[in-house]
Symmetry: C2
Subunit: 205 residues, 2 copies
C-alpha cells in the first residue's frame, strides 16, 4: 500500500474483486485476467487493472494474475488478513440471522457478543451466545476492544446506540436501521436498508 490517498470508490470495489477471486480459487482456478475478472463482476478490464495497480504490480504481462497471490494482496490491503471481532446490537430477527450467518468466518470476521435492551431477551441464548444487556454494553465493548459493530435496533433507537458505540471505541458500524447516522469523521458507517435498495430499482421498472 503506498502513500497517496486511494479514493473510497476504489476501496469499495476491492471486496467485490476479493469475493470473486475467492470463488475462483474454490473452483480450482489458478490464474485469471482483468478481462475474466471483469466479466465476472461486471466491471471493465481497464478499471480493474487501474484499481489493482494503485497498490502495486501484482500481475504478469501475458499471463494475468495469480489468483492466490492477488487474494493475499487484497486481504492485506483491506486488512482482512486477520480476524476482526464484531458485536451485534439488537437481538431481533435480523440480529438472530447475523449471529447464525456462516458467511463471516472466511471473510475476516468473528461475532463475539450480542446486546439488546429488552430485559426479556437479555440472558437468552442465540446460537452459542448469551444476549447481554445494552446497559453494560459500553464497558463490555471497551473490555473486548471491539472496533466493529452491526446495528439492528429500531430506527428510533439507532442514533442513541450509535453514540454509545462511538463512545465505546467502535470505529466501523454496519447499520441495518433505516436512518442516516451522525458520527464523527473517524468512524465509518455502511448502510443496509432493504427498502432503500429496492427503491433504487423501482425507478427503472
Amino acid at each position: 500500500m503506498n502513500a497517496r490517498k486511494i479514493p473510497d470508490i476504489i476501496i469499495g470495489r476491492l471486496p467485490v474483486y476479493l469475493r470473486a477471486l475467492q470463488h475462483m480459487a474454490e473452483i480450482g482456478l489458478k490464474t485469471t485476467s482483468s478481462q475474466e475478472l471483469g466479466e465476472n463482476v461486471g466491471i471493465s478490464a481497464a478499471q480493474i487493472r487501474k484499481d489493482i495497480s494503485q497498490f502495486g504490480e501484482f500481475g504478469k504481462q501475458g499471463t494475468g494474475y495469480s489468483i492466490e497471490y492477488l487474494i493475499d494482496k487484497l486481504r492485506e490491503i483491506l486488512k482482512v488478513d486477520r480476524y476482526w471481532d464484531v458485536v451485534v446490537v439488537g437481538a431481533g430477527d435480523m440480529g438472530h440471522a447475523l449471529v447464525n450467518y456462516q458467511g463471516f468466518s472466511d471473510r475476516g470476521f468473528h461475532i463475539v457478543a450480542i446486546f439488546d435492551n429488552d430485559k426479556a431477551k437479555v440472558g437468552q441464548n442465540i446460537s452459542k451466545f448469551n444476549v447481554e444487556d445494552t446497559d453494560t454494553m459500553i464497558d463490555r465493548i471497551k473490555e473486548l476492544g471491539v472496533k466493529i459493530a452491526m446495528l439492528t435496533v429500531p430506527a428510533a433507537a439507532a442514533q442513541v446506540v450509535a453514540d454509545q458505540l462511538v463512545q465505546a471505541g467502535v470505529r466501523a458500524i454496519l447499520n441495518y436501521a433505516p436512518i442516516s447516522l451522525n458520527v464523527p469523521n473517524n468512524v465509518k458507517v455502511q448502510y443496509i436498508d432493504p427498502s432503500t435498495h429496492l427503491q433504487r430499482m423501482t425507478y427503472y421498472l
Copy 2:
C-alpha cells in the same frame, strides 16, 4: 420526470432523501431546506438541490421545500407511489427475517410469497405465509405478475435461481447471496453482503 437520462448515482440518492423526509414528516416538520436535509443525510446542500432540480422545481426561494410535497414527488419519481409485490427466495434465517420485517409496507413493498427448494421446509408456515416449492416458482411468479425478488439462497444456488427469476419475468433482484450475478441488461440487481460491507470499512481501521 423529464426526458433526459438521469444518472444512476442520482437515482441512488433519492431513496435516502425520501427516507429522511419521511422521518422529518413523522416528527411533525412541515418544511426543510437543502442545507438541513443535507446535514441529515451527509450530502452537500448544493448536490441535493442539483439532484432534486433534475426532476422539476419543487422548492421555493426563501422558504425551502414542503416536506409533504417533496415526499409525494420523490415517491412518484421512484414509482413507490404504489405497492410492489415482492417474493422471497430462500427460507433460511435471512428469508425469515425479511418476511417478518415490518419496514416494507410504508416504503412501497408487500411480500406475497416465499420459496425454498428444501422439501422439509416446503409447506411450513413463516408468519402468514406458507413456504412454496421452488419447483413451481416460475409459473407461480408469472401468475402473480411479480417483478421484484429478494434472493437469500446459498451462493452456490444463486445464479441458477436468478436465471429462473429472470425467466419468470422478474426485473429487479435484491441479492443477499455473496456472489455477483449475471443477468440481462433490462434486469437490475442490488447487492447486500454484510462481509463485503464490513470489508469496505476495515481498510480505514
